[in-house]
């Protein structure tokens, strides 16, 4: 396995670990962050705030296992959804702290957050599409 790909997976695993622990340590703030997007019902907001941190933790662990491609596929889907939510919130002129990595004191800088997510996709999509060459007979 190429060291670059291993480094990419470790980087993504660290990112998910950080994101999940930051959210789990302050769930009320994460719920308030979801509410601030004004796109989910109260019940869905609570459900998401209870589920998403654990999904992120699961993805972090799975990236270090043979199931890393499944984790990469979910990473691409999840980051795409987060990016879409940021674009929609930005276009609606919402002032919010996205709570993406637990930081909730300052308002989110939408262009920076979107660029950050695109960089994450730039790392995870090639890792997902890469297929190890089959051993020759």
């Amino acid at each position: 396995m190429s060291k670059t790909r291993l480094f990419g997976r470790l980087l993504l695993a660290f990112m998910w670990l950080w994101a999940s622990l930051a959210k789990l340590s302050d769930l009320p703030s994460f719920r308030a962050s979801i509410e601030a997007f004004q796109t989910t019902s109260p019940a869905l907001t609570v459900g998401l705030s209870l589920y998403v941190p654990w999904l992120e933790l699961t993805l972090a662990i799975a990236l270090l296992t043979p199931w890393h491609r499944a984790s990469l596929l979910l990473t691409v889907l999840l980051v795409s959804i987060f990016t879409l939510a940021l674009v929609v919130a930005w276009s609606r002129g919402l002032d919010l702290s996205c709570g993406c990595f637990g930081q909730t004191r300052e308002k989110t800088n939408f262009p920076l957050a979107i660029i950050r997510n695109l960089l994450i996709l730039l790392i995870s999509v090639p890792l997902l599409l890469h297929r190890a060459p089959k051993p020759s007979p």
Binding site: L27, L50, W54, L55, T104, E106
Partner: protein, 154 residues
Amino acid sequence: MALSQGNHFGLLRQVFVLLIMAGVAAGVAAPWTKGRLDSAQSQADHLAVSPAEMLGIGADILWVDARGDSERSAQPGIPGAVTLNEDTWDMGPLLLAWSPARPVVVYCGGSGCQASRKVAERLAREAPDVKARYLSGGLPAWREANSAQGRGGR
């Protein structure tokens, strides 16, 4: 990229299992996490002040600006507000300006900001006599309420 159908199926099965595993973890932790969410929500509801309620309190509110330095320098706040945020926690200016007759309301930059709630919660723990509350909707709500009041007064 040529993936066989078997590979696709295996990958989707793993994706499904990961989603279920996260759900199981969230379900196992739910009694603890849901309890924390509920108690935090009831405390936040108790401390929140709506813009309409704020107008009813009157003019002698002691405003506390909970925004960080960069936000404060980018956008002016409520005139006369004292600064108190979690980055540089210093209650000195607030306690100097405070008197028991003055209601204390904390605000931050937007409807989705949470600094004001956090500062109000911390004040409730560290200086309960101050009875600080926080403004729902933040600075934009204050501006809107004031301009609406101005229009109504004409």
